[in-house]
Symmetry: C2
Subunit: 234 residues, 2 copies
Amino acid sequence: MAEFARSVVCVSGGMDSAVAASEAALVSGELYFLHLNYRQRTERKELECAQALARHFAAKDMLTVDVDYLARIGHSSLTDPGLPVEPADLHRRVIPSTYVPFRNANILSIAASWAEAIGAGAIFIGALGEDGSGYPDCRPEFFRVFQELVRAGTRPETRIEIRTPVIHLAKDGVVRRGLELGTPFELTWSCYQAADEACGACDSCALRLRGFARAGRRDPLPYKNIARKRAETV
Amino acid sequence: MAEFARSVVCVSGGMDSAVAASEAALVSGELYFLHLNYRQRTERKELECAQALARHFAAKDMLTVDVDYLARIGHSSLTDPGLPVEPADLHRRVIPSTYVPFRNANILSIAASWAEAIGAGAIFIGALGEDGSGYPDCRPEFFRVFQELVRAGTRPETRIEIRTPVIHLAKDGVVRRGLELGTPFELTWSCYQAADEACGACDSCALRLRGFARAGRRDPLPYKNIARKRAETV
């Protein structure tokens, strides 16, 4: 019997959320996919990936939420077309400009509202901790406190577990775990910059390519050739 | 000198948020009003009140956010036109059907994203605790944990205080405090049901009318006559 009759899965369309969906599928009866459009440059591509993943995992329902206010709130190169996306720097110690303030709190609040409404017992989110991009709302401590918030802010009989199945993995660990679980990486997208061929130059591409390289696998996505060659030798 | 150079104030258009705005004005340089449209029956009226309050308090900016997903998530008579609003029962001990799951977490997450983006040092929200409508996300414990969440999920240098200035007041205490501070109650709206004359019959009207009656003041809003007479003698 499944551990959870119903689970909400936060599905961006990226590889981490796809592996989180694979983990959710292992322990859940029905999957409910939540996709957020926060008007990032590559939203259309990410939505297509989320929809393809929903079909792949036979999700019971998919809720797409337009959080356009994150774009209006701005202060992020991910949502503000006027700010350039910084080239990759995996050794950087400052918070990158793609940071959307408190984004995961917004995502998880919507997920928890939906989970309580449909009686889901868990929320899965594919946040990476240490090997992520250094966002404060991706740290294990953030999710621990959010779990506490769900307990404090929902009906007494409501039980919703926040699961972060990939948080302790590095990117190559996500690749390895995804391969074990049969995650369809070809249905995911990571590039912040482009939607046809991945640029290979942004932080997200660089992390992804390094993850596949370290796991000894070739990423199934199309890249601009030079970018892939350079990144795979990092 | 003001305690906070900038504060975000969550302004529904109701009387509690108007008193919270009065409190914020006492200790803040610039006010930034956040109004959420979650497609409740009386949204247009509430938006007009929020705008009138923004003018009254000379707010520096007002951000209106359409959280229509709360309507789609549903399970609430506040947002679902198919469910009737229950008549008032101030002695009820169960959570009323107007409960929108985890609503305040959604409101505060947006407020915190905005506060971090503009460098606001405080978020004011006019939630009532004991004399509120019994929602789990209105309890002091919920706000205490949310304060912790903001600490855990924002940049290390970010300091945002969650202020709930009316949480320990009963409704008549809100009326009294608002009168002390000069809160323009005539620019607020509470009825869940109607936007021209307040119905006087829903929970929100009943609480408001009882609050004014106990404070020995007449509510400046128009009510259906019979409803006011009945409610003021509760």
